[in-house]
Structures are given as structure tokens and as C-alpha cells.
Symmetry: C2
Subunit: 454 residues, 2 copies
């Protein structure tokens, strides 16, 4: 059956790529309120696109970016599918490092370049094209709803707010998500776990204004030095987290999970070539797969204080800020974790400075799935066709906090399959997505929905 | 005699302030090459202004910003004066904190607001107006040359390069500099020492591009975290510098200097009110005057890595940078000091990251003067008239590296007197200079040059 969809893809791919490019032109950056209008326009475009596939479409509004909710009834005896995706993208800075403008998509050497090319516009779009193909050939029998939001990159707040009201209309058996990746283009991957996430921004304020570093140097403490000391206090020399009791809630590692996770072929030399640095961070005593899938982290996402322009400026900066996020694993309570981090920093901040919690965000807890269900067996069968039998299971380091919450609310079993690769540079300059991986995603989506329609 | 100059000031002050405003409109920021043209225009304006006072004016060009050199012959039996000043100013960011635009000077509540209002355009300008006044009344008899440069805020490189060639034409007995301050408007101050300065910018590079903090968190070390650890390693818990042997060269503190320095009335409560933070930084065990005048510092002028915009961005930044400067005291060799700082950081940087010395600058060594010379006695007499007998001696924390080098090259005794106050916010947003302090500077300059003309 796969060859039939390969043919259909080949026949339509130019149109698919053109439409995908159109989708990528919207500057749907959710983190920056300057792009609120672009998010609206993007959602409207998507609504028109999905309407044309025979869905009854609704745009949900509330405190944040609009959410697309689209329904298509089917044979109620089949598994009901809820597909979740997001049309919002990460900010683009440092924009000077992009080879072509982030919102002028371009195909080069078999890859689509542009912000969101993979995460999540690209992966979302191959699913839409698979649905369109099945609709046209009249083979899509399972009931399917689409929930496509515009705030995934900033914590999915509005969807979480709407869930209590929505959950009846969202009821499903399968929560299909294509927002993950695979280790190597030759492999297909089912993601068995996602880490949770919490984050905060802390500001340390000292003098009322930037001071001359000669006149004042030695008189007062320096907010930039002090914020660096706070950051340095977060980890021990062995790379472990120094926040008190941070590991207490971490679930004991299941030996079978550990073995399965370590079977995924992490090619460390290739990693170093792609990323440009040896993967020797994190806690000592754990493998790469274990550090990524089963251990929490605290990462500095940004640290800023004082002069950053050309040349020098001999000041003691008035203040300094740090943006921190922490990935959580099975067992850890997000609210406890972010409070513990903030308390750790607050205790160590100089008393004569002002310690401000600029933001405190709870993304959500980690999720961890079972590899023994019928749905996973179906997915594995489909993926074995796409990958010539090379399906693996990974515990992912990233977070899609809303997935855990959605799955729980609507009673569905999540199925996380995606075709992203490290070289896609998601969240970074020059994001791209391989056209071949796009095709694999299309084939997987078409075959899965066919299987669920039987 | 002072009343005569008070009257002349009163008669001309509106004109003086208008011309001073004109001078402040030039965006002569030396740190940013975008303003090179503005520096040229500022120097040209100054050249025309000084020409009109009867000086023979030359603009010296070379690798950097133009230097104004103006000569006025006089009675060669009198002390020859070389006045040194600078027309360049500090950058203006964060520009959003300025109440009025930095280059649109405005008088409010008895103060002139604008970048450079005090440092050094304002203090330089009262000297020019005093010279003008004496020239008009035919009382300026001592030979006087002016050397006004455009790179003081970035290290006076070009003037240092030109010195060997210039020093014969610069020969003088007195090096007059008005680029310092006083503790309180009721006091007049002779600055007996200036700290030296060295600086560097260090970049720590990890991955080739910003990485997703979930996918990669726990695999690699984070450049922002690591640069914070480097910064944190520069000081001990007691505020002292942790760089090996950094205090070895520091000259033993002269007891008489210590007593004299501690006589200057530092009002710590007023400091806290003005600056907004308690002066409890630096090394424990030393007074404020001692920490500022006799102890070296290492200050972070800027630390930057990763996302700094609105909201969050869950990345591991590709790199992070830090701008560091160190104030030096009597005895310390600048080249040894900056190399020791860089070596300290390099040794502690993660080996898998790239450690780049973006810049390494040697400002110059500290200088320390004698309070027993005839020149200081003359200056004190003049200042006692301006301040009703309240002249004090301070060892300053700031640096004017070129002053030590100039004094040595041209064989002159430096005389450092200035009327700046902490509330002037030099190097910071909303820089300003009190019109009353400007008048005092005018009176001091006129009376000093009259005394030197006798």
C-alpha cells in the first residue's frame, strides 16, 4: 500500500511544497507581542486550508493566540483520532546568522529553509496533506478532529485554560502528535517519553543607574558578577544539580526502559560533527540516552547585564537578568521544582540588591508511555514499512507540556511520532526540514490513518 | 579678584550655556564606529571655536579619531601649561532610560542634561571660557597649549602612538586636567591619585548554533552557565580578587596617605540615597576611601549570552561573552595584570569549548602624586577662594591612563582638579552637570591661569 502513497506524493509534491512555503511566510512568533497580528493571519490561513478538506472549522479565542479546532465525523465504531499541532514558531534572533530571511522560505539542496520549516509547521503540514489525500480518495473513515494552537512555544496557556470546557468535544482514543524527531534518517522513531519543563526569569538590581566602574569599583557589589555567582551555584562540579533535594522526587529508573533507551544508536562522533561540541555535559555516570531521557537539567537560556555593544564601556551595570529553564523527569512536581530553583537563588542573592522574579512558568510534568499497547503495535507496523523495519523507541529530552495534559483530559492514548533531525536546527538560525523526511511523514500519516480506518 | 570673574561669568553665562549646548549636540561616541563622522564634526567645531580665541590650531590625524592641538605662545619665563581634555563621550544605551534625548541638551532645574554634559565636554568647556575671558582682558601671560582628544573613553590609543613624535612641541611645566570630581558641592578637591586600568573581552563558544534546551539539555555544557562559572571564580567570598598573585605588586600603603585619604568626608548615607545601593562591596577590612584609592578591582562591564528579548526561548546558547575591566593601583604592572586575568579564565574554561580573547587592552598604570609641591600650594590657594577654604585631597578610583603617560612624556607635573559630582551620572543615562559647578570650574580655571601668569 505504501507505493500507492509514494506515487500520490510524487504527483502532488510541487503543490504541497508551494502551500507549505505559503504557510511558512507568516511570522507567527508567539513569544513577542509585536507579532500578534501575524499569528492571527496565520491561523486564518490555516482555517481556510482545513475547511477546504471538508472539516467543520471553528476558531477558538480567549486570552491568547487563536486556536484552530476542526472536526470531521466518521465511522463512530473506529478509533477516534485527535491530532494536535501548533502553528506558532520560536523567535528568530540572532537574525544576522540566517543565510536567507527566516520568513522567506526557500528550497536548497533538498531542504526547506525557514523559521518553522520543521517545528511544527512542516511536520503539521505533512499530516494535513496525508488527510487531504485520504479525503480525496474517500478512505478516511475514522473520526478525526484537529486542534492546532498558537502558543506551544510559550507554554500553551490558553489551550490549558479552555480544556475544562472543551474536553467533551475533544474526546478521542488516539492523540496523534507529530512534533518529535528521529536519530537518523534511516530510522523511524516512536517517542516513549517527554520531559517536563518549568522556567523563570530573575532580575538582580543594584544601583539605580549604570555606574562608572572606576569611581565606584570596590565600593559596591556588581549585579553582573553577582548574577554570575548565582548561576554558578546551580550545579556541582560533577554536572549534577546543586538545588537542595532536586533529585528526591525523580522516579527510580526502570531497567527495561534503560536497556531499550540505550539501544537507540546515538552516534556521538556524528553528534559532535553536526553540533560542533562533544556531548560530555550533564551528570557524570549516565549515558547520553539516560541523561537526555531520564535525568533533569537546569539550563541558562539567556544571561544579560551591562554593555554588549562594540568596544568597551567601563560601567558597573545597574542590573542583570537570567532566563532559566529546567527539564523535569518522571516523578518530579513542576511547581515544587521551580519554587526550589527560585528559593535557591533568592537565598544566595546579596541582601542589598533587589531580587525580582520577573516570570515563573510551569510548563508541565514529564510523561512516560507504555510500549505494550495495540496502538503502538499498529504504529510500529506502519513505521516498519516507512523505514524498512528500522523502528526504534526513544525517551525524548524535549517537552510538549500540553500533550500530557491533553491526553489526560480527553482520555486518549498519545502517539508521538515525528521525522525531525538534529540538522534541522529548530529554535536556531537557518531552521530547515528535509523534503525526504517530509515525504516520510506524509507516508506515515497516510498509512496510520488508513490502518485506524479499518 | 574672584568677584571680578563672578561678574564676568554672570554677564556672559547665557552665551556660554548656548555654546556649551551646541558642543553637546555632536554624537561624538568613540566606542562605536557608526559615530566616526560625528567625532570628526565635533573636532572641527572645537577647532573653529579655539581658533577664535587666538590659538594656532592644528588637527592631528592618524589611526583613530582626530586630535585638536592648539598653541598660544606667551611669556616664556612663566610656567608653561598644557591643558588636556577629551571631546569624545560614552555610548548612550540603555537609551530608553533617558528622560530627554542624550544629544538634545536641555537645562532643567539648574542642570545641563545630555551625554557629555560633564564628562568631559562640560568640564573642558569651562576651561575654554576662562581662557577666552583672560584673552579678552589681556591677562593670559603664561604659554598655554591645548591637547583635546577623541578617544579617551576607549583608551587614548592614537594620542599614545603620536606622543614620541609630539613630545617636544608638548613640553610643559604643568599638565592641567579637569576630568575629575569632588565629593560634595561645598568642597573643592585636588585629585592626588588615579587608578590604572586594563580590560578584555572573552568569548566562550560551544555548539555551532543555539540548541534546543530539551533535545540537548544534559548532553553538552552550556556556554552561558560556563561563562558565569568563570566570572564567579574571579572573586573570593570576602570580596578580594581570586586571581593568583594579583596583590603581590600592590605598593604598601603609606600611612600618611591613608590618613589624608580617610579625612575626605565620604557620606555613606547620602551615597546610598544617590546611588541606590549600600557601599558594602569590595574587600572587607578597608574603608570606602581605601577601597577606592588604594585597592585594585575586577569589574564585569557586560555579560551576554542567549536570549534577552520578551518572553522565553528554550535554548542552550551557542556562545556567551563577558567584558571585564580591572582598576589597578600603585605598583601594579598593567600587562602582567591583564595576562593574569586572562590566564585565570582560560585555565578554568571547559576544554571542549573555544576560548577567544576578543580584545585585550592596556589602559595604563596608576599614578600617585606628591602633595608638597609649589604647584599644589598655588592650586590649593585658588581652590580655597572658590570653596571658602574647603579644599580636600582625594585618591580617585577612576583612571585617565593618558595623564600618567602624558605627564611623563612632556615632563610636566599633573594638576588634577574637577567639579564633577556623583549625581552627574556620567557614563549612565541622564548625564548632567550643575550650572553652579560649571561656574566654579570657570572661576578656578581663570584664577589658576592668572596665578600662573604672574
Amino acid at each position: 500500500m505504501i507505493d500507492q502513497y509514494r506515487r500520490k506524493f510524487a504527483e502532488n509534491k510541487q503543490l504541497f511544497f508551494d502551500q507549505w512555503s505559503e504557510f511558512l511566510r507568516f511570522k507567527s512568533i508567539s513569544a513577542d507581542s509585536a507579532f500578534a497580528v501575524d499569528c492571527e493571519a496565520c491561523c486564518d490561513w490555516l482555517a481556510r486550508h482545513v475547511s477546504a478538506l471538508g472539516f467543520s472549522v471553528e476558531i477558538l479565542r480567549g486570552t491568547g493566540k487563536p486556536i484552530l479546532f476542526a472536526q470531521r465525523a466518521g465511522d463512530q465504531s473506529k478509533r477516534r483520532v485527535l491530532f494536535y499541532g501548533h502553528y506558532d514558531v520560536q523567535p528568530v534572533d540572532p537574525v544576522e546568522l540566517w543565510q536567507t530571511p527566516p520568513f522567506q522560505p526557500e528550497v536548497r539542496a533538498g531542504r526547506m529553509y525557514g523559521r518553522g520549516a520543521q517545528d511544527n509547521k512542516g511536520q503539521l503540514f505533512y499530516v494535513l496533506k496525508a488527510i487531504e489525500t485520504l479525503v480525496k480518495e474517500n478512505t478516511l473513515e475514522c473520526p478525526i478532529n484537529l486542534l492546532i494552537e498558537g502558543e506551544e512555544e510559550v507554554g500553551s496557556k490558553m489551550i490549558a485554560e479552555l480544556l475544562p470546557k472543551l474536553k467533551n468535544s475533544l474526546k478521542a482514543d488516539v492523540l496523534m502528535v507529530c512534533d518529535t524527531g528521529t536519530l537518523d534518517p534511516s530510522l523511524a522513531t516512536i517517542t516513549m517519553g517527554l520531559r517536563g519543563i518549568v522556567s523563570c526569569e530573575i532580575k538582580l538590581s543594584g544601583p539605580k543607574y549604570d555606574l562608572h566602574s572606576g569611581v565606584h569599583g570596590g565600593l559596591i557589589r556588581n549585579p553582573a558578577t553577582e548574577i554570575a555567582r548565582l548561576v554558578a551555584s546551580l550545579h556541582n562540579q560533577d554536572g549534577s544539580i546543586a538545588v537542595k533535594d532536586y533529585y528526591t522526587q525523580v522516579a527510580t529508573l526502570d531497567e527495561q526502559d534503560r536497556v531499550l533507551a540505550n539501544q537507540a544508536p546515538y552516534e556521538l562522533e556524528r553528534y559532535e560533527q553536526t553540533v560542533g561540541i562533544k556531548p560530555i555535559g550533564g551528570e557524570s555516570g549516565y549515558s547520553v540516552a539516560e541523561r537526555r531521557g531520564f535525568r533533569p537539567t537546569i539550563e541558562i537560556n539567556g544571561i544579560h547585564g551591562g554593555y554588549g555593544g562594540e568596544g568597551g564601556k567601563t560601567i558597573i551595570p545597574s542590573s542583570a537578568t537570567v532566563k532559566i529553564s529546567s527539564r523535569l523527569v518522571k516523578g518530579q512536581d513542576p511547581a515544587w521544582c521551580i519554587d526550589a530553583i527560585i528559593e535557591h537563588l533568592h537565598q544566595r542573592a546579596p541582601q542589598e540588591m533587589q531580587f525580582t522574579v520577573v516570570s515563573r512558568d510551569i510548563g508541565g510534568p514529564a510523561i512516560s508511555l507504555s510500549s505494550k499497547t495495540e496502538l503502538v503495535a499498529i504504529a510500529r507496523q506502519v513505521l516498519d514499512q516507512v523505514s524498512d523495519g528500522k523502528t526504534i523507541f526513544i525517551w525524548e529530552g524535549a517537552s510538549i507540556p500540553i500533550v500530557a495534559e491533553l491526553a489526560h483530559s480527553v482520555g486518549a492514548e498519545p502517539l508521538l511520532v515525528g521525522f525531525g533531525l538534529e540538522e534541522d536546527c529548530i529554535h536556531a538560525p537557518n531552521e530547515s526540514f528535509s523534503l525526504q523526511q517530509f515525504e516520510k511523514g506524509f507516508l506515515y500519516s497516510a498509512l496510520l490513518l488508513r490502518a485506524l480506518s479499518q
